[in-house]
Every structure is written in C-alpha cells, then in structure tokens.
C-alpha cells in the first residue's frame, strides 16, 4: 500500500517542479560555448589570428610616408552566414588588434565620423574658442579593410557541423589595388542535446 502511495506521489510531484535563475559572474577570458553559435571567443580568436597574419607580412611598409604609420579604416564586414553575427563586435576586435600592434593608425568609420562632425558643429556654437576643434583637419585613410563572413552548415540528426570562413581584404584607397587577402577558416562540431532527466 505504501509503495502505491509513493508511486502516486511521484506522479503528482512531476507537475510541481519549479526553477530558479542563478547568476554566476565569470571573467570574459573564460571560453563559454553554450549554443555552439559564433560568440565572443570566436570573434576574438579570428580577429587576433588574421591581424597577426596581416602585420607579419611586409605589405604595410610601402605605405609608411616619412616615418609615419599607414592610416587604415575598417570598412564593412558583411555577414553572409546563416547565423545572426554581431559584426560590430568583430570590427571592434579587429580595430583593437590593429591599434594595439602600434604599426598602423586607425581612423573613425563613416558612421562614427558623422557623429564626430556633429559634435564639432556643436562645439562651434557652444565651446570656448581655444578648445573648439577645427573642421577639415581629419586624417584621410590610406587603406581600407573590408570583409565577409560565410558559413557552411551540415547536420545529421543531432550533430551539426558549422564551417566558418572569414575573408578580409586590404585595399589601397588611391589605386583600388588589393594588397592583402586573409582567410581564416574554423569548424565547430555541435552536439544538439543529449538525453537528460
């Protein structure tokens, strides 16, 4: 009799489970792969690897003028993949790697420049004469970095393989000559779930 009551109790309890949210703070250096999709770790790894490749090749030296570092702008990186990838964080990772290398200067992107120009217009009206920044004194870029992110996805039942390919191209703004093309490929094997109680 006790056993039967115990079994019935289990059936009743099944419908009464509750869950609580729990937050665990971790360092941003720690790799976290929850869904298997493109994440901050992929962005940082790919940008670091590709920019190292660019800087280790002797493609930038001819753009050094009078000892000045070449000026570079990061243009559009297009997401041609089947994932929603935050391209902005990837662009920022690339900019960070380039600036931290100390080998190039980076200028603001087209959207950032619009905001900066608005600020300078505002300064003309509201800032003191000494601190107002001059217009038409911007640094023009020598080179533009553009790119694409592609994915090829293959899936059989609960195993998914995602192959990422990131292509970056460095283009001479004056001649439109492509002076470097970098490609980084990496693969992720994702097991979609298992059996759990």
């Amino acid at each position: 009799m006790k056993k039967i009551i115990f079994i019935i109790s289990i059936f009743l309890i099944i419908g009464c489970q509750s869950s609580n949210n729990r937050v665990l703070r971790v360092s941003s250096d720690i790799e976290t792969d929850l869904s298997g999709r493109w994440n901050d770790t992929d962005s940082a790894l790919v940008s670091e690897n590709m920019i190292n490749d660019l800087l280790n090749r002797d493609v930038l030296s001819r753009f050094k003028k009078n000892g000045m570092k070449p000026v570079l702008i990061v243009g559009s990186i297009r997401n041609n993949s089947s994932e929603h990838i935050n391209v902005n964080t990837f662009v920022k990772d690339i900019e960070r790697e380039l600036i931290n290398s100390g080998k190039v200067k980076i200028v603001a992107s087209s959207t950032e420049r619009l905001e900066l120009r608005e600020e300078k217009e505002d300064q003309k009206i509201n800032s003191s004469l000494v601190t107002t920044k001059k217009i038409a004194q911007e640094t023009g870029a020598d080179l533009m970095l553009i790119g694409n992110i592609f994915t090829i996805t293959d899936q059989l039942n609960s195993t998914r393989v995602v192959y990422y390919q990131v292509d970056l191209e460095l283009i001479d703004l004056e001649s439109n000559e492509k002076i470097w093309i970098g490609t980084k490929k990496h693969k992720k094997v994702i097991e979609l779930g298992g059996t759990k109680w």
Binding site: M1, I4, I8, F11, L12, I14, G15, R78, N79, N80, S81, S82, E83, H84, V87, T153, Q155, L156, N157, S158, L192, G193, G194, T195, K196, W197
Partner: protein, 456 residues
C-alpha cells in the same frame, strides 16, 4: 481479503481519475474562438490582446513553443515586427532545446499520450518561423539579418528530408512494429526564393539573385503537387523607376483533427490499414499480440481550413494596378511536411495503446488470482476505460500561420502614394480592405508592403 481487494480497486480508480483530471491528456482549444472571431473581422490588435490574456489560463510550460508561435504570428499580422521577432525567436530556441529529449516526460507520454509532452513544433512551423522573421527584419530595415533568416530556412529545409530516417529506422529495430517512411516531395520553397531574390537585388548581389530566381522557377516545375497553380513573375533585376513589392497572407494553415480507430483483435497481428489522403502511407503491421485486445487508436491528421479570399486587388491612388498572384500554399506544404513525422506518431500510438491493453489484461489476471473473478473483470473494465479516456491524440498546432501567400511587383515613379489591398471572395464581393496611406516610395530603398486578412 475482501477489504484488501476493495482498497486495491479504490486505488486503481483513484489513479485513473488522477490522470483523467489532469490537463495533460487532452488538447484544449477553447481559447481560440474569440481570437478567431477578431481575426475574421480584421481586428488583429484585439485578436492579439485575446491571446495575451489567455496565456496564463490556457498555456502551461509544456505549451511554450505553441504560445510563442501564436504570439509571434499575431504580432506580425498586427505589424509589430520587433515583438514578433522576439516571440518567434523564443519559439525557435525552445524547438531546438526540446531536441534534448526528457526521458521522464517520455515515460509520461507512454503512460498517457503525447499531450503530456512539451510541444516541440511541427517541422513546417519551424521552417516558416524563418520566413516570417525574414519579413520582420525587412520591415525593420535590417536586410542582412533578413538574408540570414532565408539561409536558415534553406538549411532547415535541407535537413528535413533526412530528419526522421534514422529515428524511423531505430524505432523499427526496437519495436515489434514496422512503420514505413513516407514519400516526400518538398525540397525547395518558392516564397523563400522570392524573398531571397528581392533581398539580394537590394544589396546588389546580382549573381545570388539570379540563383534564387532559378530555384524559384524550379520550385514550381519540380513540385507540381505543392505548387498546383501558375507561378508569379520572378522579381525584376532592375528598373529605372522605383520597384514596390507587395505581399499578402490569407486564410489559415491546416488544423489538426483526430482520426479514431477502435480495434477488436483476437489474432496475433494488428494490421492497421488507412486510405486517408492525409496520411502518407497505407499500412502498419504489428506482430506479437497475444490474446484478446480492445484498442483505441487516435492520432492527429491535418485538415485544410476554408479560405474566404479568392483574389486580391492592389489599388494605388485609386487606380487599380491589377491582382496579386498566388506564390505559396502553406496548406499544401504543411500537409506534405507532416507526412514525414506521421508514421512515427502513428507507430508510437499503436505501441502505447497495445501497452495499455496488455497492462489491463495482466492486471485482470493478477487481481482475478488474488481477489476473485468479479474484481478481475472490474479491473479489466477500469483498464479499458483508462485506455479509452487517455488515448487522445495531440492536436496542438500553431493556429495562426496563414494558408496562402500572394505577391506582386509594381513599378512607380518615386513619390508618396496611397495603397489599398482589396480582398474578394468567390462571388467577386469585396470582403476586406486594408489601406496604407502616404507611403514614401524611393528608388534606393526596398519598398515592401504587406497586408493580411485571416478571414475564416
């Protein structure tokens, strides 16, 4: 002895009633009547509010995919594209999450029926999420994201073909039952290709647009049963004027209804035969039955719903610009995609019903041996009642995907225009009209207008 027997019998009855009273054994659809009515009169905001109000009363955690699918679609028809994306994204996420099968719930489904399981969405619902998310992103002017959704749709469609092969194979190996694989012919989708074409045209990827156009035409040529109507013109490559793309959605996707079979069997083979056009195969054979058996088999089939709209006219500044052309029968595709999973649903239904019958027979024998023939018969009766009451098919399905989509592409000089979509029934009577006033049409933007009438 008599008192003990009485106690056991009462406990059996108590167990049956505990399960019968549980909301997990039947599909409840009563929340839909008001929402349907408001959609019928074209009041999508009230329909949406009706669904939001019904959430706590009619949807439990196991129905979360169903709820978010319905919420996402009603937000979409209410032109709230950001909220629609949030809801559809949640639905898509939970569908993927539910691929992690919970054994405990699986056992509950084996004891009761599939209503006890979390609803993990039909395959056609999962893929159509991406079509509507793509449309949402277009309305939100996030064209790269709209293209991501088209690619995701394509991936899911390719994966669908083989999704159940292994599962059916394993099922057949592990059970005494043989279920067939359904014949399947949905490999390419015209609406997805059409959307891809206008998006690639907008971002200047002309080669990609051409590929989409080729596949668009192939969708009609290679799948005549799914696309049993003439193809609309493919999107133009470019034009000196501004191009306006018009999309409409009418009717509703097929509904799940229960098909019930009562089987009185005394042999050792159950030969299940169906000539229903909604089922993708004819027969299932189960070997290994012993003794007499009363079975109730109930499983879902998809049934098309009526669509009051026959054709749609587009009027610009009070001048008719012709009629939209049908591009997608969500109905045909839902029926085709459902065929893939249906053999498994029916196979599992047969196994579950047989298990219940066997338990009922064994219980009768045990009770009869210990407490006498009278209680044995009563136990068998209770078991039969239990099977007949709990063997209900899972009729959950997202209700608010449309039945039909139609498109048109017109060319206008850049400027501001008033657009009207006029919906006509078979008797050429206008049943609904939706106006979009003072819409700016430009050459350098993707001009897309979308209207819907989910009349019933």
């Amino acid at each position: 002895m008599e008192r003990n027997g009485s106690k056991v019998f009462k406990l059996v009855i108590l167990f049956v009633f505990l399960n019968l009273s549980c909301s997990t054994i039947v599909t409840n659809k009563s929340q839909y009547s008001d929402i349907d009515y408001n959609l019928h009169i074209g009041n999508t905001s009230k329909a949406l509010q009706g669904l939001l109000d019904s959430r706590d009363l009619f949807y439990s955690e196991k129905d979360r995919v169903l709820y978010y699918l319905e919420e996402g679609m009603l937000y979409h028809f209410n032109h709230d594209y950001e909220e629609s994306n949030k809801s559809l994204t949640k639905a898509e996420y939970f569908i993927e999450e539910l691929m992690t099968k919970s054994i405990s719930k699986g056992i509950l489904s084996g004891v009761l029926n599939d209503n006890a399981l979390p609803y993990n969405g039909e395959d056609y619902e999962d893929i159509y999420i991406n079509i509507f998310k793509s449309l949402n992103y277009i309305h939100l002017k996030e064209y790269e994201s709209a293209l991501v959704e088209i690619r995701r749709f394509d991936l899911k469609l390719k994966n669908l073909e083989h999704k159940y092969s292994l599962e059916i194979n394993n099922f057949n190996k592990s059970e005494d039952i043989t279920v067939p694989e359904a014949e399947y012919n949905y490999h390419n989708d015209a609406l997805a290709r059409y959307l891809g074409s206008i998006l690639y045209r907008y971002v200047g990827a002309i080669d990609d647009k051409r590929i989409e156009d080729d596949y668009f035409m192939k969708a009609f040529i290679n799948q005549p049963l799914l696309y049993d109507f003439n193809a609309p013109d493919k999107p133009v490559s470019h034009n000196d004027k501004a191009i306006v793309n018009l999309f409409t959605f009418t009717g509703l996707i097929p509904e799940k209804e229960a098909e019930t079979y009562y089987v009185n069997n005394s042999g050792n083979i159950i030969y299940f035969d169906s000539y229903s056009q909604n089922i993708g195969f004819n027969k299932i054979v189960y070997k290994g039955m012993k003794g007499r058996t009363n079975l109730k088999l109930e499983f879902p089939t998809l049934v098309k719903r009526s669509n009051p709209v026959e054709y749609i006219e587009i009027v610009v500044n009070n001048i008719s610009y012709g009629y939209l052309k049908k591009i997608e029968s969500f109905e045909n595709i839902a029926l085709e995609a459902f065929k893939l999973r249906q053999p498994l649903i029916i196979g599992k239904t047969v196994i579950r019903a047989i298990s219940k019958a066997l338990i009922s027979n064994i219980s009768e024998d045990i009770v009869e041996d210990n407490f006498g023939k009278g209680l044995g018969i009563l136990t068998n009766l209770a078991g039969t009642v239990y099977m007949f009451a709990t063997e209900n098919s899972d009729l959950r399905a997202a209700r608010y995907f449309p039945g039909v989509s139609s498109v048109s592409e017109i060319e206008l000089e850049p400027g501001n225009y008033n657009f009207s979509f006029v919906y006509y029934n078979k008797k050429n009577k206008a049943v609904f009209k939706e106006d979009f006033n003072n819409i700016e049409i430009r050459q350098d933007k993707l001009n897309l207008l979308e209207s819907s009438y989910i009349g019933l």
